[in-house]
């Protein structure tokens, strides 16, 4: 049986990484060219890893289901990337970034990994600037920073509202250079459908060419999974339509432990659902909460009238509005962390105070900000006795300068002018902190199989801070994996090319082909989306922002039943040897239907509230924190790593106890 060994190096936390790097085994340049590495996924983590490994001299084969690496969903990250550069001189340091990340993760992440992340964060910025990433600058020509939720310093680097795009294009350009040199063999529109283990080691993958339907065998000395998060288990999320768990799930089924699947981040500021046809949710940057005030009607009859379209937000008097975040959390107000803001919105909407037709929306109001900025501007411009409309115009100009593109995006989608009527927002699944369990080397419990970026579990604990996802993806790909993988591959210098003719490849290919043939020949009565939407409903209702034992048990049973029905009644049109988007969806949803059950099982096991995971059974019962999430460090300060045993419900729990030597565990308080 596999046992968990996190392989955290000994020594003081600030020296661990440096000392470890000095002692790690390396592969000499002449041997690197005899070693192949497969990288699945070309987002920030996969793209940067593929480029860096190729620069080092390994032969890299990269796979992306999109038509180009540049389209991976890292591209949609808006806000920025954190780095402990302390360019603002406001007291930032590696330790502070480390501390903020561990605290922000509600003390459920691995200290050593997080510290390493903080250490290399500055290098990421240097590297990206050298690549030509056009970060925002101030008038002196130096890099600009903004501040983000949950921290006390300005350490976020950004490129307008498109930081993820610019960083991804940077990694993409580094990949392009290696593709041109012949060091990366790029497989666009290819999807990994299984991993191949030879003698217990990851030695290749089975992939489907999504244009021709050809099932291909690809061998390598190591396999790196960088396929992102699994938020689409909820059907509706801010993830891309194609984002899926398949790569991570396939390795899980072959022996990689899956850690903390229940840690999901629900982002509070997304555009609400407008109807049953909704296919995805759009995020509005968290920065909006800096100036917007969140409220719902204080009177239930007003809320009802709004839901029926009989009343408008602007018609509700100031005293009849409930600024519930400011009411409940006077110290942080509208700037409480994401999980707290999301749950508070759900609480109000569940109580019937929601403000759109579906009853699932709250207002984000900029009227006060417009008024405040307007008065400020009038003062600056020396306008005495400015009229209300003058103040409004001045204020609107300021708000427009800060958030213009977001307001425009909102108006395009909702068709309402957010300067005139308050925006409507509602929480949506956004990021998954859980993922494949990895050790300090980022290797999974399958030797030679690595997992990086959002797909792994290691750095964000139970909740991720804003602007940290980009940091982790690039840290893993540029600065961690290229070192740590050498330690494993140094044993492989005499292995030679891995043959794809072995029985293991044969077997894996056969099972993939059988799966595909099943879907094509099943001719059931429901489309794949039918099942995906049903799964999403179960997940959102019972394994969503707020969870309890009864609901989780129901969810597990319902998902299992749904999965059984799926295998009987799913309908996939078309054939296997052509481009077939429905077939692609079917293979992905099949895996979501298994993950969903493990997700609920994990949530059931973790009878505490921490970060994005809120158990109704674990709340503070009295005192100032009454009703707030209650973490239980005594019983649950561990990583839940699940071992696959044939059925998701039968998965076996392995615990990695978390040790906090450098940070004292504290209750988060935002009152």
């Amino acid at each position: 049986m596999t046992t968990l060994n996190s392989r955290i190096p000994k020594g003081p936390i600030k020296d661990k990484w440096t000392t470890y790097k000095d002692k790690i085994d390396l592969v000499n340049p002449a041997n690197k060219r005899n070693i192949d590495v497969i990288v699945v996924g070309t987002g920030l983590a996969g793209g940067s890893a593929a480029a860096s490994l190729a620069e080092l001299g390994y032969n890299v084969k990269a796979f992306a289901y999109q038509d180009s690496p540049r389209r991976a969903h890292s591209i949609a990250a808006q806000g920025g990337i954190n780095a402990a550069k302390n360019y603002q001189g406001d007291g930032d340091s590696t330790y502070r970034l480390f501390y903020d990340t561990v605290k922000g993760g509600d003390y459920r992440s691995r200290e050593a990994n997080v510290h390493r992340l903080a250490e290399v964060s500055g290098n990421i910025i240097d590297q990206c600037v050298a690549q030509g990433v056009p970060f925002a600058r101030d008038y002196g020509g130096l890099l600009d920073n903004r501040s983000f939720g949950g921290v006390l310093v300005s350490r976020t680097f950004y490129a307008k509202g498109q930081t993820g795009q610019q960083l991804l294009l940077g990694a993409y350009s580094a990949m392009n250079r290696q593709i041109a040199r012949g060091k990366i063999e790029m497989h666009n529109r290819h999807e990994m459908l299984d991993v191949v283990l030879v003698d217990g080691k990851a030695r290749g993958i089975i992939a489907r060419n999504m244009i021709t339907g050809e099932i291909q065998r690809h061998s390598a000395h190591a396999v790196v999974i960088a396929s992102g998060g699994y938020g689409n288990v909820y059907f509706l999320s801010t993830n891309a339509m194609g984002s899926n768990v398949t790569a991570g799930w396939k390795i899980h089924k072959k022996g990689a432990f899956f850690a903390n699947p229940c840690y999901t981040q629900i982002h509070p500021t997304c555009i609400p659902r407008s109807g049953d046809y909704q296919s995805k949710l759009t995020l509005m940057s968290e920065s909006l909460r800096n100036d917007g005030r969140i409220w719902v009607p204080a009177k239930i009859e007003d809320a009802k009238a709004i839901q029926e379209g009989k009343l408008k937000a602007t018609e509700i008097a100031e005293e009849d509005r409930d600024y519930y975040l400011e009411r409940r959390y006077p110290a942080f107000g509208n700037l409480v962390p994401r999980d707290v803001a999301s749950r508070a919105a759900k609480e109000r909407c569940d109580a019937g105070y929601g403000v759109n037709a579906t009853g699932e929306a709250v207002y984000l109001d900029f009227a006060a900000a417009i008024d405040r900025y307007g008065k400020e501007q009038a003062k600056i411009k020396g306008i005495d006795n400015a009229s209300a409309s003058e103040i409004y115009d001045l204020g609107q100009a300021v708000v427009e300068a800060k958030y213009g593109n977001l307001f425009q995006m909102y108006e395009k989608i909702v068709d309402e002018n957010p300067y005139k009527t308050p925006m409507m927002i509602y929480p949506a699944t956004h990021y998954t902190m859980g993922g494949v369990w990895v050790d300090y080397n980022l290797m999974t419990t399958i030797p030679g199989c690595y997992c990086i970026g959002e797909a792994n579990f290691s750095d964000h604990g139970a909740n991720r801070l804003g602007a940290s996802a980009l940091m982790q993806g690039l840290a893993d790909g540029y600065f961690v994996l290229p070192y740590t993988i050498g330690d494993y591959l140094s044993d492989d210098i005499r292995t030679g090319k891995i043959s794809t003719d072995s029985p293991e490849f044969e077997e894996a290919e056969k099972s993939v082909k059988e799966l595909i043939n099943f879907f094509i020949s099943n001719k059931g009565e429901h489309s794949v989306d039918y099942y995906h939407k049903k799964l999403g409903e179960i997940m959102w209702d019972k394994v969503g922002m707020s969870r309890n034992e009864k609901g989780l048990k129901e969810a597990m049973a319902e998902i299992k039943a749904l999965r059984e029905d799926f295998w009987k009644n799913v309908n996939v049109p078309g054939t296997s040897d052509e481009m077939n988007p429905e077939l692609e969806k079917a293979t992905r949803v099949a895996d979501f239907l298994e993950l969903g059950e493990l997700f609920a099982k994990d949530a059931l096991d973790r009878n505490e509230s921490c970060g994005g995971h809120f158990r109704e059974e674990s709340v503070e019962l009295d005192g100032e924190q009454e009703g707030e999430a209650k973490r239980n460090d005594k019983d649950f300060a561990y990583v839940s790593a699940w071992e696959y045993k044939g059925e998701p419900g039968d998965a076996v729990l392995h615990k990695e106890e978390l040790e906090f030597n450098d940070i004292e565990l504290k209750q988060r308080s935002y009152k």
Partner: protein, 246 residues
């Protein structure tokens, strides 16, 4: 609302393809265009017909995957958006909507509305990068100040999502806005200067080899570009090219 759709159906790259009429009913004006397509596809699947293949992924206007030519315009009638951001309120009950793939010799159709845009990747591979290895030892990010004006302009150029609307809408299928944007991004930054000459020559060469047409300055690309990339970038590429050639 009820609509008639005229959609390009083509089984694969070798198939001839044709426009096929479909009817969709009870479409909400709040739906996005692609959600309307989802409704159509669900309908086709339940009838036992093959759904329409189309490219899409992020559905928030940034990945550049969606690529439809709607009623004679790349990404449809609205400005500054991609197809996934287009909403049905831009249409009226009873409308007939033409939906075709992006057309260009360098963008061959793969299936239905899905086209192959890897020619864009090959152009980027020919020089759309700065040759710097990942070492962690590059100079400090603030070692070279860059004028805010240049940095902002570089950002404006870099905002290209590589969707190919510029090519699709150009009567010559020219890729100069796309290539110009990348050349400009690096031309405006000091990091890009070292390889400037080889970069522009080799990217332009690759662009020509891929079979894209020539720019005749109609300006259609700038209008249809979902990210508002300016024609200035083509002019800058022209300058860079002349500088490198002469």
């Amino acid at each position: 609302m009820n609509l008639t759709l005229k959609i390009w159906r083509q089984k694969n790259a070798d198939d001839k393809g044709q426009l096929v009429d479909y009817k969709v009913t009870d479409i909400s004006e709040h739906m996005s265009f692609l959600e309307m397509m989802d409704v159509l596809n669900e309908q086709l699947i339940n009838k036992g017909e093959e759904p329409v293949a189309f490219d899409h992924d992020c559905r928030e206007g940034i990945c550049g995957m969606c690529s439809m030519y709607i009623n004679g315009e790349a990404h449809g009638p609205d400005r500054g958006i991609t197809t996934c951001q287009l909403h049905m309120r831009s249409f009226k009950d009873g409308d007939t909507i033409h939906i075709e793939p992006f057309r260009a010799t360098a963008f061959p159709v793969i299936k239905d509305l899905v086209v192959d845009r890897t020619s864009f990747d090959r152009i980027q591979q020919s020089g759309g990068y700065i040759s710097v290895n990942t070492s962690g030892n590059t100079q400090d990010a603030n070692a070279t100040p860059i004028s805010k004006i240049d940095a902002d302009k570089a950002m404006d150029a870099a905002t290209c999502i590589g969707c190919g609307a510029c090519v699709a809408t150009c009567k010559n299928s020219s890729a100069m806005l796309f290539v110009g944007a990348k050349v400009s991004q690096y031309a405006l930054l000091p990091q890009g200067q070292v390889e400037a000459t080889e970069r522009v020559l080799s990217m332009v060469q690759q662009m020509d080899d891929e079979g894209f047409g020539n720019c005749t300055n109609t300006g259609a690309c700038e209008v249809e570009c979902p990210k508002g990339i300016s024609l200035e970038n083509i002019a800058r590429m022209n300058r860079e090219f002349l500088k490198a050639s002469l």
